[in-house]
Symmetry: D3
Subunit: 131 residues, 6 copies
């Protein structure tokens, strides 16, 4: 189990990140992911910056972004990430029926990915990037 | 490279699947994925049935379903599937900007998935499934 | 593409391994896998020893061993290994129908593996190792 | 941990699947995998249908099919699936010696898969699918 | 194959990144990885920033950092990344003998990782993070 | 959880391996990995031999070898292996700052690996192996 850096013991640069996350999400404490990354402050700061940019406003809506994160975390088999992205997606409107369909897609893609690789299917000319 | 079963050489059960896919998508020929699966007709039929159910009408819209498939195929590193799902998602409205955000999410999730696993982050009580 | 160490340019220790493989399998030349490993002779020798032990006579018959290797190589997405183990399994008796069933199992397992992980299924008491 | 849908609380379509599985396998209750999938009945039904077809009678014998499933689940790192397929394979006749050889093959294939990829070995002409 | 954004057609923000990379590494042109990322400028900029921080001066020396990147890229099966990190590591001093040992470690770890997972080995108390 | 073969119940060939490991590392008992492999003595012996060769004296120093093993085990998501290689690397001199940089590299490589695959970046001519 990860060592978690609590606010009280955190150095100022880590406290600043915690304060910022708490303010942005209006939550009383940051989740364990951030407390674990804080053992290496450069990773904490860089990951916070990257996620803020990637998951922030863009052409994809917040729920779609969260569901994509959940799908990828499931494909990668990360238990913590599946739990946290499921919670975040539910908070943004994912119903149980939507979750059911999402996980069915992740699982079916795993199956068709293996079949396409196994049969060494050559890419149809129409699918090639015009590049 | 896969052996591809062309319509002319296909047995009746395979032709029936090809005919159905061509009619449903209004295309002149099925793509290589189906021609490769046709070397084992039970796999062709079962995969067609499963995909029709999973990718068909539901609570998630068709573009979101296609983007989820693309995200998972990217996470799984299947070159054929990335190409075919990119084409299908574009046909359903995915712009280059949307693709850029989608791939950024897939890549960032790969990074945070590894960090969560590496630091062995324990799941926050609030994230646990009420089960 | 890998640098391949041909017999003529190989040092004596590599030639000895090549000679042994050719004699054991009664083939005129070793395949590319061995010629690629020969750039690091300790890896060539160790891999040859390990494979000889693992794939050699045991309680599982040679065809089953080859099909297991093919299934794992497919799950791991190794194109070279899929090609070489398919050829080897065919040489030991795998028919196209058997290959079709094998690949269907690999693909279905990929799907059910994702579902079991995604739904975080707890292991049934009856399945726990008596340890 | 997954929410498990018990028989008593299950809707009729789910009960029908449970009843059928119990009858087919002559067991008093279905295992946790099915109870977890039941949160999304379409996935429960589709997975049951697919597994019945893929794992049912064919040219490969039941034990070989189960061992292939175990090998793939091990390659994919699915803890639940390793436990359930180990139990199922033992019930079909897998001895501890057979399990030892199977896992040695899975592990060796993981090693040789990485070596073939790392050295970018080109596929021998003799291994190419006649296509 | 990726669409590559050449300097001549690149927007100012992309040219600025290209100029900076060329100056920092004293090379006449950026490699294909950067030209491919340039189709989505935010990803280009963020990736450049993150890599500069992660691969820049720290407590690990540059060659060790490059070899770690090569090892991970091999474990993840990324052909482009294996090629580019092999070249970069050689430029920083990796000999063929060092490469041979590195790849042997990657492959052996793949094997022992599978064995540890397959046998579900419980973590020794002495290995638990003091947390 | 794995069945662990304790010294008292072990057959002579297993005891000999345990004795040898204990003597080589000057430790009172072998760790759980070895006790788990002992259920299949040929795997125990072969893995011990292979690790002794791969992790033994060579052109890479022991700490670098251990850190490479930790990086690969993290990329492969093996919890036991991450714990044991972290402990072993610390024993050989890995500081917390070094661990932080190592894990940042593993995570960034996961991200850039996905981007290179997703954008299907063609290998720069300069990176091609002279073969």
């Amino acid at each position: 189990m990860a060592r978690l850096v609590q606010y009280e013991e955190a150095p100022p640069e880590v406290r600043a990140v915690y304060d910022e996350i708490k303010a942005a999400r209006n939550i009383p404490d940051v989740n364990n992911f951030w407390k674990a990354l804080a053992v290496h402050p450069p990773t904490l700061c860089r990951t916070r910056d990257s996620l803020r940019e990637v998951m922030g406003p863009g052409v994809l809506d917040p729920l779609t972004k969260e569901m994509l994160s959940l799908a990828v975390s499931t494909a990668n088999g990360c238990a913590y990430c599946m739990a946290s992205h499921t919670a975040a997606a539910r908070a943004k409107g994912m119903t149980e029926e939507m979750r059911g369909e999402l996980l069915a897609i992740v699982a079916m893609a795993a199956e068709t990915n293996r079949l396409a690789d196994a049969y060494d299917v050559s890419i149809d000319p129409a699918y090639r990037d015009p590049g």
